[in-house]
């Protein structure tokens, strides 16, 4: 599971797809379910937020 810091759209999407596949193939038991669902919800929200805001860290990048 990647850290939030290094998280990219690609990684988030891949991880989400992984969770969905695991779920569809019955590889997640009920004990893991809550944790996985939480992680998935986080990833979705992360991507949606990121689409709608500009990373502050990049704002000072173009000073010439």
């Amino acid at each position: 599971m990647s850290k939030t810091k290094d998280l990219t759209y690609e990684k988030a999407m891949a991880e989400l797809q992984g969770i969905v596949t695991q779920m569809q193939e019955d590889e997640i038991n009920v004990d893991e379910l809550s944790e996985k669902a939480k992680r998935a919800a986080f990833l979705v929200k992360y991507c949606q937020d990121k689409l709608r805001k500009i990373e502050e860290e990049v704002s000072g990048l173009f000073e010439e």
Partner: protein, 417 residues
Amino acid sequence: MSYTLFELNEFIRQVLALNLSEPLWIKCEISQANISRGHCYLNLVQKAENGEEVIAQSSAVLWSLKLRQLRNKLGFELDTILQEGMEVMLQVKVDFHERFGLKLLIEDIDPGYTLGQLALKRMETISRLKKEGLLEKNKRFNLPVVIQRVAILSSESAAGLKDFLNEMAQNEYGYRFQFHLFPVAMQGAKVSEEIQAVLKKILPEQFDVIVVVRGGGSKMDLAAFDEFLLCKSIALAPLPVISGIGHEIDETVLDKVAHTSLRTPTAVAGFIIHYNLRFESALMQLAAELKGGVHTILQKQQQTVRLVAQSTISQLDRAMKQQTMMLKYIDQELPGLFSQKLKLSAAGLSLMDRSIQLLDPQQVLKRGFTITLKQGKMVKDGSDLEPGDELETVFYKNKTRSVVTVAPGKQKTSNQQ
């Protein structure tokens, strides 16, 4: 005999006027063009074939009156034609002035020739790019899953730039973008040089894509984007290039080498927004599948719990029913069994009673049998008796005494003999 300079120049003017009285068509390249006080002053050259060496050069002028006439005829294309580097076909009148020397006065311009030359140049560029493996080079990039950091190559004054930025900023999904404008000339002779220089400055890790945008222009106006070195630099750009350089019909060569080519800056904005929307849709689709998955797993789990509970209950139920049945059986059947057993026992007892009764000596005596006793002991064998033995005979009722007269033993002896 000698002449004055004026006489010589006057003579030249007369010779030229006599021999070149009519305007004529010439092919040349414009090496410089300046507009001053409404007149357009040009420097015309011809270069050696396959070389840059200038083998002929003349100055020319398009007087303001003619310029206005041609502008009415050719529209904006005139400005494009009258540019440095353009191959042109001009109708000129040769003019010689004693003081100002030789000048070509432009009477007419054939735009078809320039277009043809441009088309030729364009074809050359394409075949050269193809030969050098550059035509598909920029298409090797995969666009990132989301396009958000955009390097813009455009002119600050370009109408298309404003369209692009407005369209991007006003997207209905609320997507935000980071833009960085790298200002470059979007028309004229400097386009190629400036784009090449700027592309070298772009750091690929800071952007997702490079966008080249400008508003619409005439066919010749776009000629700069057919230039080989420009197209090569686009092909070799460190990021995927999306073009929207405002053309109606024909693609430029830049469009051919770009990763993705769209007609207008607005279309580029639309493309990027929908590209991101597609990502978000896929995201939402996954989220929905996930929700469904969680629901299914929970439902399954509930079902399992329910099944376990149900089977436990039914097992308990069955066990209880069995117990009840057993008790009921015992309750119902046992008394019967007992009484049967008792009856059987009773029958056996009465039989035994009768047998016992039959054996009772009193009963035997009653039927007429007697018991003989000698000295109080039952006589079972007559040969034990001796004559003179006193016997007691017991009857059913009463008894009597007697004496043995004949010894039954003798008879017995004789019998034995």
